[in-house]
């Protein structure tokens, strides 16, 4: 974990042992070893095919 002042960089490890870098605003109270849930909007995802080319999708938000 690294505090950069206005934002905090978290290094999270998922079950499959995949490491994620997550940047949050402000100072995070999350500590090493804590469990956290993580959300992502579909429109924030990017998708690439096996050749590395972007697969375009429309960022339609499903109703709440």
């Amino acid at each position: 974990m690294e505090h950069l002042g206005a934002e905090t960089l978290l290094m999270l490890k998922t079950e499959g042992d995949i490491t994620l870098m997550v940047k949050v605003d402000g100072v995070s109270h999350v500590r090493s070893g804590d469990s956290v849930s993580l959300g992502v909007r579909p429109e924030a995802c990017q998708l690439f095919n096996a050749a590395g080319k972007t697969v375009v999708f429309s960022a339609i938000a499903s109703p709440e």
Binding site: S32, L38, N49, E64
Partner: protein, 313 residues
């Protein structure tokens, strides 16, 4: 309207083609930044535009004039190098005016241009000093001053700030942008610095292995990369990438598993991918929302993942 036009430009060194057919249009007054991994051809492309290297193929047009066979000195371009390339035995003033004196420009014009450049770059107090007695930032200002007095139609910068410390780099970045605004000149700028590229450019050109991966505004490249290379090249820390397999495509909506067991649904624009295809899902570090507890299920806009454990570090 296009001001600088690169048309299918190629460059061979011996039998190796290092620039592989570059097409690029630059508008007058645009600030264009070239980025790409080391060895991808940024400096070579800049040197081809400057006329310091001969093109193997293609055409260069500046302001409607075919410059392909025109001498470097007559192209109306000025280049600023990372290494400053100042004459150590000359004063700042003499370094700045050297080219004009060689070309026997009128003394009054020389004095006027020197005055203007020195004012813009805050160099008046140092005009009688030798480069050895200047800081790195001041030396780079002299090198920029030397380019300004040539009154070029295009400025070319090859990593001009990479020898400076972070604070100075920031200051010089602001200076160069001010200069760009007051001169209104077309500028092409090579950098390794992500922040420089994202904050300075009207248009970023991402180069890779001698060809262009994508051209666009910083935000467009960041949010709508044409491919994985561009997505991974821009952004610090790097975008998170997961190799995954399309779980299903239902009525044009692809379901993709996320690490931890959740899935995300993406409505596809075309039938590019189908069930079972290997794909890469990528998410920028700042595009996550972190919660300490499970969110309410009603928030269907979000794809929530199962709980993750913070890696001790």
């Amino acid at each position: 309207m296009t001001y600088v036009s690169l048309e299918n430009i190629a460059k061979d060194f011996g039998t190796t083609r290092v620039i592989k057919g570059i097409d690029l249009s630059i508008e007058q007054g645009e600030f264009v930044v070239f980025v790409g991994p080391s060895g991808c051809g940024k400096s070579t492309l800049l040197r081809l535009i400057a006329g310091l290297e001969q093109m193997s193929e293609g055409r260069l047009v500046i302001d409607g004039r075919d410059m392909t066979a025109v001498d470097s000195a007559n192209r109306g371009v000025a280049m600023v190098f990372q290494s400053y390339a100042l004459y150590p035995h000359m004063t700042v003033a003499d370094n700045i005016t050297f080219g004009m004196r060689m070309n026997r420009v009128d003394k009054a014009i020389i004095a006027e241009r020197l005055e203007r450049a020195a004012t813009m770059l805050h160099l008046q107090p140092y005009l009688d000093r030798k480069p050895a007695h200047l800081s790195g930032g001041q030396r780079q200002r002299v090198a920029i001053g030397r380019a300004i007095v040539r009154d070029p139609s295009v400025f070319l910068f090859d990593e001009p700030l990479s020898n400076l410390d972070a604070a100075l780099r920031h200051e010089m970045r602001v200076e160069i942008l001010k200069l760009h605004k007051s001169l209104g000149s077309t500028m092409i700028y090579v950098t390794h610095d992500q922040v420089e590229a994202m904050t300075m450019a009207d248009k970023i050109v991402v180069l890779n292995g001698g060809h262009i991966e994508q051209v666009g505004s910083p935000l467009d490249l960041y949010l709508k990369p044409a491919n994985r290379f561009v997505a991974e090249f821009l952004g610090s820390p790097k975008i998170n990438c997961f190799e995954t397999v399309v779980q299903a495509v239902d009525k044009g909506v692809a379901i993709l598993p996320l690490p931890g067991g959740a899935t995300v649904s993406l409505p596809l624009d075309s039938a590019d991918i189908s069930k079972g295809d290997a794909v890469t899902l990528a998410i920028r570090p700042e595009h996550f929302v972190v919660g300490e507890t499970e969110p309410q299920k009603s928030k269907r806009r979000w794809s929530w993942w199962s709980t993750l454990v913070l890696k001790p570090c």
